[in-house]
């Protein structure tokens, strides 16, 4: 059952029930429950935190800080949100701390330029597409990039993202709106439309 988890689907209701049970046991000091939760979340947290910093050591530190807090604070989880929302909220704050400690952004961060020639290649492999997309995402402001990642990789709702990032729902909507506009203009072939087709 244990092993490196590469969780890639949004937490379902079933997963939430499992996570809540694990949190209940962690609140009682059950180390094995923490271990299970750790492996369940490691992959998705690593992916999420990689949007905050490109330093692998900082990501690992933030993951462990997250679960350190989960271990200490599980009893404070009130069950009024999905367990994953509560955990991601902690990860978000730990990620921000890691960001402050490790310096601003990934080493490869910079003003990205989209290669129009490669963008029009209809045979782009998925890995290439992801790299291309990563470049596009790096052009977004920090909060917009994280919002996009929370919505599309982690599958959180608008309200959940607001809870995780401790901001109003309308702020999440605005960040998502701006991120989509920019990405549509940067990555036009993803939508099969000519550059500049996106409307603002």
């Amino acid at each position: 059952m244990f092993g490196p988890a590469t969780a890639q689907v949004p937490a379902s209701t079933r997963d939430d029930g499992r996570d809540r049970e694990l949190l209940g046991l962690i609140a009682l000091g059950e180390r094995r429950a923490l271990e299970q939760l750790y492996f369940n979340y490691h992959g998705r947290l690593g992916q999420f935190l990689s949007r905050l910093t490109g330093r692998r050591d900082a990501i690992e530190e933030a993951i462990n800080d997250t679960f350190w807090i989960v271990w200490q604070k599980a009893a404070q989880f009130r069950g009024d949100s999905r367990a994953s929302t509560w955990i991601m909220g902690i990860a978000w704050r730990c990620g921000l701390k890691a960001l402050r400690r490790s310096g601003p952004l990934p080493p490869e961060h910079g003003e990205a330029t989209i290669d129009a020639a490669s963008a029009t290649d209809t045979t782009l492999a998925s890995e290439e597409l992801r790299e291309w997309l990563d470049t596009g995402l790096r052009t977004l402001p920090f909060e917009q990039r994280v919002t996009m990642e929370m919505a599309y990789f982690l599958g959180h709702s608008c309200e959940e993202i607001a809870a995780i990032m401790s901001c109003p729902v309308n702020t999440v909507k605005a960040r998502m709106f701006q991120a989509r506009i920019k990405l549509r203009n940067l990555l036009p072939t993803l939508g099969g439309t000519p550059s500049g087709a996106a409307k603002s």
């Binding site: 244990f2 049970e21 209940g24 000091g29 939508g191």
Partner: protein
């Protein structure tokens, strides 16, 4: 025109939440109705769907979870615990469990079963020093150990509910400090404010419960896992 404009703006806003599966039925219905008459929004939907598909794949290298866990485990071993509550608090309204029907012992057994297949470190069998729930305080390790030294070993019946456990531990002035072992044995210690309560009295309470299959005192100095 205004209605179309409003529905266009609304659809544009809702599209990402439809794509990621978090939109409501009503939002989905209204948006699809708009999509039938709006080419721009159909294109936007297609774009967001492709974006979502591309982003929903995890990166190839999420890091070494086993190595990360070993580090965290070592950190936990090296640090006295705080913040955990005794099981007497686990049935507070609105806390932790999804519903009152969730059974703590069943969940513990579930986790135990998962652990059997583990190939990761065996650090989980190490003794865990526990502190009652509360704020951070400075305590010596000796004091902590003395306050949480188990005095009773107990096996609960499989059908014991969380509520029953809550009542029983409260009545006997006990708290869980370890367990379950592979044999399903839990180690209990006097609750924080009941250190002076005789073990014999607590045992009587435990043995009087139909949900307790076994309850025996632990001799002082016994090694507890």
């Amino acid at each position: 025109m205004t209605n179309l404009s409003n529905s266009h703006r609304r659809a544009w806003e809702i599209i990402p939440w439809i794509v990621n599966g978090s939109a409501s039925e009503e939002e989905i219905r209204a948006t699809h109705e708009h999509l039938r008459q709006c080419t721009d929004c159909r294109e936007a939907m297609a774009f967001e769907q492709r974006l979502h598909d591309a982003l929903s794949h995890p990166q190839a290298n999420p890091g070494d979870a086993a190595q990360g866990w070993r580090r965290l485990s070592a950190r936990l071993d090296a640090t006295p615990m705080s913040g955990h509550r005794s099981p007497t608090a686990i049935t507070e309204p609105g806390r932790v469990t999804a519903s009152g029907a969730v059974r703590w012992l069943a969940a513990a057994a579930f986790v135990e079963a998962l652990a059997l297949g583990a190939v990761v470190s065996s650090s989980w069998i190490n003794k865990i020093e526990r502190e009652p729930a509360g704020t951070y305080r400075t305590l010596s390790r000796l004091d902590t150990a003395a306050r949480t030294a188990p005095t009773v070993r107990v096996v609960f019946s499989q059908d014991m509910t969380l509520e029953q456990l809550h009542v029983l531990l409260k009545t006997a002035h006990l708290q869980v400090v370890a367990g379950p072992s592979e044999a399903g044995v839990w180690s209990l210690a006097p609750a924080d404010n009941a250190a002076s309560m005789a073990t014999d009295t607590a045992l009587q309470e435990l043995r009087g419960s139909q949900q307790v299959r076994f309850a025996e005192p632990i001799s002082s100095g016994a090694v507890q896992r």
